[in-house]
Symmetry: C3
Subunit: 379 residues, 3 copies
């Protein structure tokens, strides 16, 4: 077997932000390998309560491996042909696979399966979150991972004229589906104004202690037709009050406004969501769902010397307001978390307590306290 190309190239190795990293001397090939384990203890149970029954079920304190990830990325043939795949070892699921062409900053392209940048909360890696996990509204509004193609880029003008954009087309059937359900696709767009003239990454907590403020104002929109009314890591699924749909049954239109801001150890993020579900098989019967969250954190060491440097306190308030005949339960979450960053997001301990308060119209309220402790470590 002859080799078609020069097959022998010296390689150097280092340990970097994405694990062990191998680079060829000519800069054409790169391989990064990183693992991540996330252990979680939760009581009385881990999941956010979804229906009223969840408040009365038997409580089972859980200790578990919540995430066990193998992440492999790098570039091949050119520094700007980038690849990435991520595998969930504990579930044996291929989560991400992408090839990206990133030759120009203002016009990039990627193909594969990845988290749509529709929602800041979901887009932030589970290893770089500020709280133990995402808010109570994530379940209803996230697009999670989708398969398709996307253009995106950074448009940098003078001063505050600093924008990012994303425009994608997806099959709209969620993670793991290999074919579309019908001929309708998912169309997605995001426009982001970096209103302080500086890009702010998808990452929780102001670990960098920004000396200059960085902020984001983004609007997102998406439309899709599929059997599904919600998405998760497991793929497409159904919200409460919806049956598993037929191919092309639900037209779903969604939009949100997102803000984020970081400065001197303080971080803020907020999303306001709207979602419309149209049942094409039942006279275009239409529901409207709304939700929001606000979240803020601070390294109090910035103002109090006695406060430990690696310790951050964070708070979140979230509300979910469905409006369907089947489910009109308003849900509210208030959470308080403390992060101890041994080594940034790569090795951190999070303690979090949440209070859930559900209010069914014309019915008695239900509430629950939950405590969770989590250790997240990358290597």
């Amino acid at each position: 077997q002859k080799l078609l190309t020069d097959s022998s190239k010296a390689v150097s190795i280092k340990y970097g932000d994405k694990g062990f990293e191998f680079n060829t001397a000519d800069g054409k090939f790169q391989l990064q390998i990183q693992g991540r384990l996330q252990f979680r203890f939760a009581t009385p149970e881990d999941q956010d309560p979804v229906t009223f029954d969840d408040f009365s079920g038997e409580k089972k304190p859980s200790f578990k491996i919540n995430r066990a990830r193998l992440k492999v990325g790098g570039h091949a043939f050119k520094p700007w042909i980038k690849y990435y795949w991520e595998y969930e070892l504990s579930q044996s699921n291929l989560l991400n696979f992408t090839i990206a062409i990133e030759k120009w900053e203002w016009l990039r392209f990627q193909i594969g399966q990845f988290k749509v940048e529709y929602s800041r909360e979901r887009r932030i890696s589970s290893g770089e979150q500020q709280m133990v996990d995402r808010s109570v509204i994530n379940r209803a509004f996230t697009l999670d991972r989708q398969q398709g193609a996307e253009f995106y880029g950074h448009l940098k003008g003078k001063g505050l004229a600093d924008f990012n954009y994303w425009a994608g087309v997806f099959t709209g059937t969620g993670r793991g589906n290999t074919a579309n359900d019908d001929s309708h696709l998912m169309y997605f767009g995001r426009l982001q104004w970096n209103f302080m003239g500086r890009y702010l990454d998808f990452e929780g907590s102001d670990l960098e202690i920004h000396e200059k403020p960085a902020g984001v104002l983004a609007i997102n929109g998406v439309t899709n037709q599929s059997p599904y009314t919600r998405f998760s890591q497991a793929g497409g699924g159904s919200l409460e009050g919806y049956e598993n749909g037929q191919p092309g049954q639900y037209r779903v239109n969604q939009a949100n406004i997102e803000t984020a801001f970081m400065y001197k150890g303080f971080s803020w993020q907020n999303e306001i969501h709207w979602k419309q579900i149209i049942d094409k098989f039942n006279n275009d019967y239409t529901d409207n769902l709304r939700g929001y969250y606000v979240q803020a954190g601070y390294f109090f060491h910035e103002v109090f010397d006695w406060w430990p440097k690696p310790l951050e306190m964070a708070f979140r308030n979230a509300g979910y307001f469905p409006n369907s005949e089947q489910d009109q339960t308003k849900k509210r979450e208030n959470s308080l978390a403390f992060n101890w960053f041994f080594n940034g997001h790569k090795n951190k301990l999070t303690a979090e307590t949440s209070y859930f308060n559900y209010d069914k119209t014309g019915n008695i309220p239900a509430d629950e306290w939950r405590f969770r402790l989590q250790w997240d470590i990358s290597f």
Copy 2:
């Protein structure tokens, strides 16, 4: 814990034809790691039509990750004790695992699960094919991957006396089965005459632009008794017109003649298949299936200067002729493909159009055009 052997050995790294490669200084241990992603768009649908109904079903254009492979190989303890495993990340399937003893060229041995060398088309890696995928006859005739043991070797005499042989015994129950269904095994043999006195690898397209012609004439035979009438990556299955069998229900005898040839950018391959299925549980009721394909490609840059150097054009004609009471549909495929080799088979784009034409005895014909676009990249 003490070490039984000298446990500390310096290692050098390079990037080669099989990805990043690690070698100990003493030459005893080697590790190669390579990933591969294959993205495919297909319309009106990806699969070859199997039955008549496939022509009238709803058409769903598909975009998907078709293959996501992790390939790990090398040698251990001795340069001639070779290991290899390949995992399909998107399906969480272990495809290959082999240990090979390759001390002598004329007598080699391997054990494990691997693609039986019964059919050139199937044996060529999906990453080194000339068309987007295998022909319409692959479904009916391939043995795919089997578990067992095999002897093989290269017998090199003077001039044109240049032969390769393979002889294997397998459980005959396909990929992923951990036990045989009964006490009957699969026996396989292949004899290959390299009639130009040069070995030609299992690989599509004459990317090397052979200066001297290389050719293969091979005959293959196999016999097996199992519940299955066909095999695929998913393991054992059933052809149309056959039920899922009982252990030991079907005795299947198969043979084919294969030719292949490459010279100055031109490549040719061809197989003629025969398959006999004997239902041992129904009075040895017997069917005979026949099929063939011819396939050729050319880098026209060899004759026209204006033709781009990385561009190959290829054509395939295939026919499938079952002869069972249940299914006498003659199937024909004609496909035209264009390959753009950015970096050989490691990074290539293929556009292909196919025309399927089914002819049912005493019935109206059915036909379909299909278009597929595929990007295959290894890193």
Copy 3:
């Protein structure tokens, strides 16, 4: 994206006892990668007979990949923060995932999913066993892998005052379960006296040819309440005569005494087990199960020059005595094995023959001979 830590560190590589190994120059990060394949041929079948029916069923000689493992370990941030995960590629199961804090020898801590050190036989890696596989009593008494947290350490005094201890709390629901079934946990303790003043690792065969004798006397105890009456790699399950339980149905108390000894090529190990199953849902109906094995091996090269150096002979006798209304079958196993160690446990061939003899009270006995051949290779 800024880096929070010094992200660039030189890395050196070597090949060691745990495969290819990468170390940063500052000693903070380490990565080890190793694969392992185990091929097995068995006739008339691979599994130990479990019930009487197993003696009369159709015999299917099996050849299979019995284990295909990917093992990744090392340390991160500190030399004493150790991680390890092990994935079974042929079943797509995450077997082990642990983070261990091993700063002090006398007080260590680990969290995750791992083999509980309850039984020497089970704790020894399948790649470092003396026979082809574990004895007939393993099925009934092993705790296999559990999820939880454990303290352990080595207490070394003068002379023979040399102890190891383990104390763990687990969910008690076996591999792969992400939540406990109820609020009852599994509590485990092990006290080990290294009565010759030397630690003896969990490993079969005296490959090191100990010049000074090393021995272990250990007592183990565990209590658990769960739906399960046995555990295996597949997770929780049921012993013969027990239905799949409800959450919290079975209180199981277990204890064993274990000895092990190695000296000049001779190795000995032995366990005596007791297990009590209390059905909390049926008036605390109680069963008592007993079992034992003794196992010994010797490199006869130590006394006979003509005996090949890499060849070990080993023998095992095991007995299982359940005492429930549903199952009072006494089971006996006698096995004889020959190991040829090409490269220690990393590359070895084992031939084993076993004789099973079942004695049902007031019933005719059943017996079976079995032969197995196994090749285990790590790389």
